[in-house]
């Protein structure tokens, strides 16, 4: 009896260990239903938060923000998936969506008023969706949008090959837009996540957060990018991050963009 119990306990412990091992090693990543488990970790956000700014050293070497483990869609949401959502939830159809939830360009590239896309486009990332539509899509899947911290952390990929990542991102930002390829055309990053850079811009749950350090605003300097804000960047070389944060800063929830899509996340519990 006793040995049985022990065996049971050791199996439990063993399976726990296996799970932990899987969650910290990208090589053994956990992927379920097109979502990947992104392990707990940290990154240095472009602007340090108020609580992190306890001294003047802005180039922190240790992770300034920790992110709990979470599930993230391996790729951005495609037309195919968004179409299925719209068919099931007609209130998000192009002809039904409430005006407060979008600007006039919602899904405007779809081929006709029925909201159907060219079949060749079905595996491309859905774009021209407002934040409200993205939130509604994720909620319908029992998911949510990733937070900005989660998204940025996933992009930094646990600091794997940072230089190369910067180059890739800048190369993408500096070329004019081309027709979008299908999702998953390029290799996954170290977390097993695809298309974080080089395909589209993505909504985050809290895109309407402050990017400027609160201290600089409180001191009466409200010039978000032009003054103290840019000087307090944790990595002045990271122009790409600056652009992403500035881009989010410029958005409103009803905006759409022909390079702006999203993917969903989920808590681990």
């Amino acid at each position: 009896m006793k040995s049985n119990q022990l065996t049971f306990i050791s199996i439990l412990v063993l399976s726990n260990c296996l799970f932990l091992a899987a969650s910290v090693s990208a090589e053994d990543m956990v992927r379920v239903d097109d979502m990947v488990l992104v392990p707990k970790g940290g990154f240095t956000p472009f602007f340090l938060k108020k609580d992190d700014t306890n001294n003047s050293s802005v180039l922190a070497t240790s992770p300034a923000t920790s992110v709990d483990a979470f599930w993230l869609d391996a790729t951005p949401v495609t037309y195919r998936k968004f179409l299925a959502f719209v068919n099931k939830h007609p209130e998000w159809h192009q002809s039904n969506i409430k005006k407060i939830f979008t600007d006039s360009h919602y899904l405007e590239h779809w081929k006709n008023a029925q909201g159907s896309a060219d079949s060749a486009d079905l595996d491309k990332p859905v774009v021209n969706v407002s934040w409200f539509a993205a939130v509604a899509y994720c909620e319908a899947q029992d998911k949510r949008l990733p937070s900005t911290d989660e998204w940025e952390y996933t992009l930094t990929d646990n600091d794997r090959d940072t230089d190369n990542l910067q180059k890739q991102i800048m190369a993408w930002y500096s070329v004019p837009n081309k027709a979008l390829p299908v999702v998953g055309s390029k290799p996954a990053n170290g977390f097993g996540i695809l298309d974080m850079a080089g395909l589209i811009w993505e909504w985050t749950e809290d895109f309407n957060s402050y990017m400027a350090p609160p201290d600089s605003r409180n001191s009466g300097d409200k010039t978000l990018f032009c003054g103290s804000g840019s000087l307090n960047a944790s990595n002045l070389g990271d122009y790409a991050a600056f652009m992403r944060y500035s881009y989010r800063e410029s958005l409103r929830g009803n905006f759409t963009g022909k390079n702006l899509g999203f993917r969903c996340a989920k808590d681990t519990k």
């Binding site: 409430k98 004019p176 840019s230 652009m243 881009y247 410029s250 022909k258």
Partner: protein, 211 residues
């Protein structure tokens, strides 16, 4: 000394603005990107493409522990703000300014306006906390509602009202202080900086809606 300090940011700004101007087609093609500037001054919002905030159907809970939805505000114009009760300075001032707006209304019109306060702090601001906050600010009128909801409901309302906020590690919030005025159909008609001592714009907007 000052000149010396100023030199560097200028240089960096120049670099950054060059990058913005010449190498960022994806940003430039964001629709309506020119409209994003939140006017910090009082401004009347003409939003023909916008419809009612009553389309948001999230459930809130009021200070008297009753279920609450934005659509409950229909039928009267509403003064709306977002605060959190452990906020030391900005939020009490916001409430004081809304009370000044209330006092500026003619006696026979005071009960024709709703006053709605929503909390940023979905974790700490229980209905009891909201009730305590109301008491502290001598809010007794039934025209007022204080409500708390899930983090997702808070985010959705803030995005709708164009309010930026961020939770910081201490549990406090960095947030815009904005007073919004909805018409009786839930359409945002007017917004102003809640710190603005001049309430003429807000009372003027309300009087127009009551007319």
């Amino acid at each position: 000394m000052k000149n010396h300090v100023m030199k560097k940011p200028l240089k960096i700004n120049l670099l950054l603005s060059l990058l913005f101007t010449y190498t960022l087609p994806a940003i430039a093609e964001n629709h309506e990107h020119e409209h994003h500037h939140q006017n910090k001054q009082d401004s009347v919002i003409f939003a023909p493409s916008s419809d009612s905030v009553f389309n948001i159907t999230d459930q809130w809970v009021s200070a008297d522990v009753k279920p609450f939805q934005l659509s409950h505000l229909s039928g009267k114009p509403t003064v709306v703000a977002m605060v959190y009760t452990s906020c030391q300075y900005v939020c009490p001032l916001t409430v004081q300014n809304i009370k000044r707006i209330e006092r500026a209304l003619p006696a026979n019109q005071v009960d024709k306006v709703n006053f709605a306060i929503f909390s940023f702090d979905s974790e700490r601001d229980t209905p009891a906390k909201l009730a305590e906050f109301a008491k502290k600010h001598s809010i007794t009128s039934s025209s007022w509602v204080l409500a708390q909801g899930h983090a997702s409901a808070v985010r959705k309302l803030a995005v709708t009202l164009g309010i930026k906020y961020k939770k910081v590690k201490s549990g406090d919030y960095e947030h815009d202080a904005t007073i919004s005025i909805l018409d009786s159909h839930g359409i945002i008609k007017y917004q102003s900086d809640a710190m603005n001592k001049n309430i003429d714009g807000a009372t003027g907007a309300l009087k127009t809606l009551l007319h």
